[in-house]
Structure formats: C-alpha cells, structure tokens
C-alpha cells in the first residue's frame, strides 16, 4: 500500500473518492440530501456500490463530505473579492458578484450551504455542526475583509465587524431563499442593499481621513 499524503488511498482511489463527492454534491444540490439516492451517485460518478462503501462508511458520511466541499467552494469563490476589500465600492461590487452568481447558478437551487442547513440542521447533529462551521468560515472571511477596511481607516473604529459580517450572511441567506422561492432576483438585491446601507453608516467620509 502506497501512502499518498495521509488518506490511505492510492492516487486512483483518491480520484474515485473525489469523483463520488463531486457527483453527490451536484445531486444533493439539485434534489436535497434526502432526495439523493446512492444509485444516482453511482451512475453520475461511474462507480459501483462497493466503491461507495469502500470510500464512505455510509450515506451520512458522504453527505458530510459534500458539506465540506460546498464550504470550500464558497470560501474559494468569495475570498478573492474579500481579500482585497479596500473601499465601500469594493464591497458593493462583491455584492454585485453575489447577485450575478445567484442569477446564473442559484436562481433555482439557491445557496448550497443554506439549503443543506435548512434540511439537515434539525436532523443530524453532525451535519448541523459541519454546516455551522461552513457558515462561520464564510462569515469569518467577510469579517476579516471588514477588519482590514477598519485598519485602513475606511471604516470607523466603532464598526463591529463580527456583528456586521454576521448580519451580512443573514441578508445573503434570506435574500437567496426569497429569490429562489419567488423566482425573482429582487429580494436578494433588496436584502443586500440593506446590508450595504447598514455598513455604510460606518464608512469614514473621505474628508475625515
């Protein structure tokens, strides 16, 4: 047995494992965790039952991996924007990216993390904890971006970056949910405008700095 990293799987095995998670993530996004059948995953990932149970101890374990993958994807998609947050305009353009992304991919399925959180938080403590970590990771990079703005004197010292970032995630989630339900991007736009205004109160006017 060759040890590649610490996974205990060979390169081929690891590739299969990833293919399964990828396929499962898509199906979960489209049909929910309860709606995903292992047969569908087998078809979509070109694997067999024994492979599924070779790499994951049961369906719940696979769902848990899907949660991790979706968290990583969201953080990866947002970090580039948040890492160079240096003005209120930059914040606004990040919001526009979210609106655009929702229009393009999420108009029907919504936020992959939000949908899973809604479905699983009350059903599985393990899933709930994983999803809470996911939201926290997301909120955290937003908070860091805001903190950076504060350090650059773009935001007032009184701005509570922890609370502001949390409110932002809430606005995103609520907006996406209403947009998905009404099939209209307006609720998300309205919610993000609220979140932006909320932060705008703490923006330091150019003259002041």
């Amino acid at each position: 047995m060759r040890k590649d990293g610490k996974s205990g799987f060979t390169a081929r095995g690891e590739a299969t494992r990833l293919r399964i998670i990828e396929a499962a993530a898509e199906i979960v996004y489209a049909e929910g965790a309860a709606g995903m059948s292992l047969d569908e995953v087998m078809d979509a990932s070109r694997t067999s039952k024994s492979q599924l149970y070779h790499y994951f101890c049961d369906k719940d374990a696979l769902i848990q991996e899907v949660i991790g993958r979706q968290t990583r994807r969201i953080v990866e998609a947002n970090a580039p924007h948040l890492d160079k947050l240096d003005s209120f305009d930059a914040l606004r353009s990040w919001c526009n990216m979210i609106i655009e992304a929702n229009r393009t991919f999420g108009a029907i399925g919504g936020c992959p993390l939000g949908s899973l959180a809604s479905e699983l938080s009350a059903q599985s403590e393990q899933a709930r904890a994983g999803l809470a970590n996911g939201f926290e990771a997301w909120r955290s990079i937003i908070a860091e971006g805001l903190a950076r703005m504060k350090n650059q004197d773009k935001l007032m010292p009184s701005a509570d970056t922890q609370a502001l970032s949390m409110a932002f995630v809430a606005a995103i989630q609520g907006g996406i949910l209403l947009s998905k339900t009404s099939r209209n991007s307006q609720p998300l736009e309205v919610a993000l405008n609220m979140a932006l205004s909320h932060i705008e109160r703490y923006v330091v006017a150019p003259a002041e700095r």
Copy 2:
C-alpha cells in the same frame, strides 16, 4: 349528502381532514416534507390509509395544504402586532416577539415556511408558488403596517414600504436559518437589528412632526 359550506364533506369528514393536516404539519415541521411518511401521519392523526386518500388525492396535495396552514398561522401570529404598528418602539417590540418565538419554538426547526421553501421550491412548481404566496402574504401585512406608520407621519414619505418589508422578511429568514444552524439566537438578533436600523433611517424625529 349534506353540504356544509362548500367543502363537500360532512362535519365529521371536515374534522378528520383538519386533523390530518394538523398532524402532517407537525411531522413536516419536524422531519421535512420528504421525511414525512403517510404511516406517521396515520398514527398521529388516528386515521387509516383510505382516509388519507379520501381527503387528499396524494401526498403532494397534503403538503400543499400544510403550506396553506403554516402561512395562515404565521399571518395570524403576526397580524395582531402589525395591525397596531404606530411607532418605532412597536416595531422593535414586534421583533422581540419574533426572537422570543424563535427561542421557544423555532430554535431547532426554524421557520416552518422557510424550511419548506428551501426544501420544495426547486422540486415542485406548485409548492413553490404556494410558498411564494405565503411569503408575499407575510411581507404584505408588514408593508401595510409600515404604510400605516407613514400615513401617521411616523415614517418619512421617502420610505419605500414595499422594499423595506421585503428586506425585513429576508432578515428574518436569514437570521432564523443561521440561528437554527448555530443553535444560538444571536444571528437572528443581529439580523433583526440590522433590519430595524434600516427602517430607523426613515423615522421622523418627534421634533419634525
């Protein structure tokens, strides 16, 4: 056959029908629509299979009734507060009611409408439409309350009550989702504070009126 109202069922039949909807609503709230089995509904409502199919053409039709029931309950719970909205403080105390209600009943299950919307909007066009109506009914009574405040010169004429009410529902939904996932009421509180501040900008100061 006696015609009671327009339902086509006798009083006993109508009572059975309601008992089924009530039981289904509780189970759906606890386990989701996909997680609800008809056998559970039968047990909880003390009915048989044939009764379920006598009153509802299939499971989807029953779920649709559950959506209607939950909408009505939310509107009924909020209307008393929103009908006498006459100050920013009244708005604030309505928010406190929401936080309290969430702590008491919804800490685990979240918002019955929000959870269903998240689960079903992408799966069933009929359910999505029903849920969109539900959110719209809720938003609408909030908008009416804000409009009343505007008529009483408590809010500036420039306040867009339609957009403000929509943002409020988004904040509620996002806050409830994060609170349910993190098992902490703080996200909901933070989100509602944001929504309140957002409206506070349009409050007419006592001196001005």
